[in-house]
């Protein structure tokens, strides 16, 4: 199974540490606008939602690229942009239904999450609440299932 950034929204505190860590690591500056991971704060609903590239099995961006600049690695499953091939046409930006690939005017190229390549993802390293995890298994999903199962178990005890 592919290693991915797994997100558990209920643990998020809306601190945007992930955005700060990502932009500092990849752009050399603290700039949420340039982050590849987005921590959206819905203040009035008290909801904090984090979204990032899920490294699709059959990526829209890859299929759309007219230059063959986007590749999905056979082993790691990471979807990357080859900056030497990318011409900055932004077709991929239009194609991604999630808005997780963008055009950077500083480089003139498409930019997206590559899970920090060979390194441990910086956003996960700086997440203060473990709302973000980097794992093969979908651990937040497992936690949800367990919570539900425990409720069922407690119910059985009452019978």
């Amino acid at each position: 199974m592919q290693k991915l950034i797994r997100i558990e929204p209920s643990k998020c505190i809306g601190c945007k540490s992930c955005e700060l860590a990502c932009s500092f690591r990849h752009r050399g500056e603290f700039s949420p606008s340039k982050s590849r991971i987005i921590n959206e704060v819905f203040m009035d609903d008290a909801q904090f939602i984090t979204v990032t590239c899920m490294q699709c099995d059959d990526p829209w961006c890859l299929k759309a690229c007219p230059k063959g600049a986007i590749d999905k690695h056979a082993k790691t499953g990471i979807v990357t942009v080859d900056e030497l091939k990318c011409v900055g046409c932004r077709t991929c930006v239009s194609a991604c239904p999630f808005g997780m690939i963008k055009y950077l005017s500083e480089t003139g190229k498409a930019d997206k999450c590559n899970l920090c390549g060979p390194d441990f993802p910086e956003c996960v390293a700086f997440c203060p609440t473990n709302c973000l995890k980097f794992s093969e298994e979908d651990l937040p999903l497992r936690e949800k299932v367990l919570k539900f199962a425990r409720t069922m178990k407690d119910g059985q005890g009452e019978v």
Partner: protein, 601 residues
């Protein structure tokens, strides 16, 4: 500039409706760090300290620090610096949230407002483009209505700092609210904004902040984050219960001022505690930008006679709208706290002023006819009503809006106002915690807990346990805490991180960000320099050392209850030592030698 700074300030002349970009004075930035220190330097250079705080000549400065917008120590902070209409001293109020970082990402380090607009205006900043817009349609709106409207008409991602009706009505303790629930709370900075007919500042910034030494900065941040995430206060206490964790602790210490400081314990403290808030209205925890603590309480009133949602109340608010008014109704406190955010008022001062009014009523000085209702301690509905009347500028609310000193003085009994330099105490009795008493008396913006939080050593035992009743050495502790806090407020990091991290960590972050090579000692001297600069401003403003004192009650009426029963403040014994460790004369005035050492002459 690649060093935590953009090197730019935005100067906004409201009289002329002109915005200009100026180079930031980088020599001053080095000597005064940023934020509170740097803005106070500008204020000192640009206004006459004797000027009318609500007059055209006062200036209002929004300042970030070199660390604002980065990570490592909850670096989402900024300061509002001006002359205070409540105290006449320098006012500098700190706030967090998202607005401070957005301001930094716009490419400006600081905004200076001067003059006075003829009609209500608000400032729009989109990266390096700034313009003043008409705010007639926003005037009279609450802070959340204002923010929603500005986002709808300017930019959906804009971050907003604004005043509510209280700031427009020049309530002496009006605050500036950003991100709906974060407040530059104390000393009436919102009234200064209102006096200038400035309703709001909206910022959209898509740039960033760079550092001189990125790998060094990352390492320094890893160290601080590890400390913050393993220390019991910042990794367990504050996340679990927020600042409200203190209600039971301070009450058990006999230091929870009750019924306008007539008592030191509150028999119903449990019902206004952080633990109770978790059981009742807490929805979840929240952090400011770059924060790992998440002390903010997102709350919603359900199953109560009141409705609403928002953030808080904080510990100080639970006390001010609770214990010191003799009130134990959690729902009423939460509601009044929301109203304070919506109208834009400092919760500490308004609660304390209501408590003072209740004592004036208890003594027969204020009558029921005058207020339109009885003002008994413990009456929660009356408290909520008074908060609303003050925000709206209705009836007796206009008297509450003066703050407790001017209120009590108008009845000939200023000694019943629990203030220093006309600013109300926060939630710690200066008798029960001797160092805090000294800190209140000497704080540069009047009574305040976030100028030198001696509760930390005296009650919580951090960084080491001190006896709250001892006076030996308290002067040196007060000075050290005041200087460190001045440094922290100037750097752009959150004061709450200092339960876990210290000057070495802040220095390391600052050095990596700015490319300087300061020692810890030099940073302590910078804090000392900022403190003395503020003191000089106050002296020139006519705030004499005779005002380094406490109300008669704290100095001569022994606490009647609790573990600290029978105790008064021993300020007269501590104050001379404080002047001495500060390097000031026995008259409380900084000596020429001291000022020369600090580079202040």
């Amino acid at each position: 500039m690649g060093n935590g700074w953009h090197g730019k300030l935005l100067r906004v002349n409201l009289s002329e409706k002109i915005c200009t970009i100026e180079a930031l004075n980088m020599d001053w930035a080095a000597a005064y760090i940023g934020g509170r220190g740097l803005a106070t330097k500008y204020l000192t250079e640009e206004i006459d300290p004797t000027t009318d705080a609500l007059g055209t000549d006062n200036k209002l400065i929004f300042a970030t620090g070199p660390l604002t917008g980065t990570y490592g120590a909850a670096n989402g902070r900024y300061m509002v610096v001006t002359k205070s209409p409540l105290t006449g001293t320098v006012a500098s109020s700190n706030s967090g949230g998202y607005f401070p970082c957005e301001l930094k990402y716009s490419g400006f380090d600081m905004i200076i407002f001067e003059g006075k607009a003829e009609q209500p205006l608000y400032l729009k900043i989109h990266n390096q483009h700034a313009e003043l817009a008409d705010a007639a349609h926003l005037w009279g709106k609450t802070t959340d209505e204002t923010e929603d409207q500005i986002r709808a008409e300017f930019h959906g991602d804009a971050k907003v700092a604004c005043i509510g009706p209280a700031g427009e009505n020049l309530v002496r303790f009006a605050c500036i609210i950003n991100d709906k629930h974060r407040a530059a709370g104390r000393s009436g900075v919102g009234a200064v904004m209102g006096s200038k007919n400035l309703k709001a500042i909206a910022v959209r910034g898509t740039g960033g902040v760079t550092t001189a030494n990125p790998s060094g900065f990352r390492e320094a941040a890893r160290e601080t984050l590890k400390m913050l995430r393993t220390h019991p206060v910042t990794s367990e206490g504050l996340p679990a219960l927020g600042t409200a964790i203190l209600v039971n602790i301070i009450n058990q210490s006999g230091a929870l001022p009750t019924n306008n400081s007539q008592f030191g314990t509150f028999d119903k403290a449990e019902s206004i505690s952080g633990e109770r808030l978790v059981q009742t209205y807490l929805k979840r925890n929240k952090g400011c930008m770059g924060c790992v603590i998440a002390c903010a309480r997102v709350t919603k009133l359900t199953g109560s006679r009141f409705t609403g949602s928002g953030e808080g109340p904080e510990y100080e608010t639970l006390w001010s709208l609770g214990a010191t008014c003799g009130i134990s109704d959690m729902a009423a406190i939460v509601k009044a706290s929301y109203l304070c955010d919506e109208y834009g008022m400092d919760t500490i001062t308004i609660g304390s002023t209501v408590a003072c009014a209740m004592e004036l009523y208890q003594r027969g000085l204020i009558t029921e006819d005058e207020v339109g209702m009885p003002l008994n301690f413990g009456d929660a509905d009356v408290m909520v009503k008074l908060v609303e009347m003050t925000g709206k500028g209705e009836g007796f609310g206009n008297k509450i809006g003066l703050g407790s000193y001017r209120l009590a003085d108008s009845y000939g009994v200023p000694e019943l106002s629990m203030t220093v330099k006309k600013q109300e105490f926060p939630a710690y009795d200066g008798r029960a915690i001797q160092g805090m008493g000294l800190e209140y008396a000497t704080s540069n913006r009047g009574a305040c807990h976030v100028r030198g939080y001696l509760v930390s050593p005296e009650i919580l035992g951090l960084p080491e346990k001190l006896d709250p009743q001892a006076i030996e050495g308290k002067a040196a502790w007060a000075k050290a805490f005041q200087d460190v806090t001045a440094l922290v407020d100037s750097a752009g990091v959150c004061l709450f991180t200092t339960f876990s991290i210290g000057v070495p960590q802040v220095t390391r972050l600052l050095n990596a960000a700015t490319g300087s090579n300061h020692t810890d000692d030099q940073m302590m001297v910078a804090g000392d320099r900022i403190w003395n600069m503020e003191r000089l401003f106050n002296l020139k403003a006519g705030i004499t050392p005779a005002q380094d004192t406490l109300p008669k009650r704290i100095l001569s009426e022994p606490l009647p209850d609790g573990p600290m029963k029978g105790i008064v403040s021993r300020l007269p014994e501590m104050l001379p030592e404080y002047y001495s460790v500060r390097g000031w004369g026995t008259d409380g005035i900084p000596t020429a030698v001291k000022l020369q050492q600090l580079g202040l002459v």
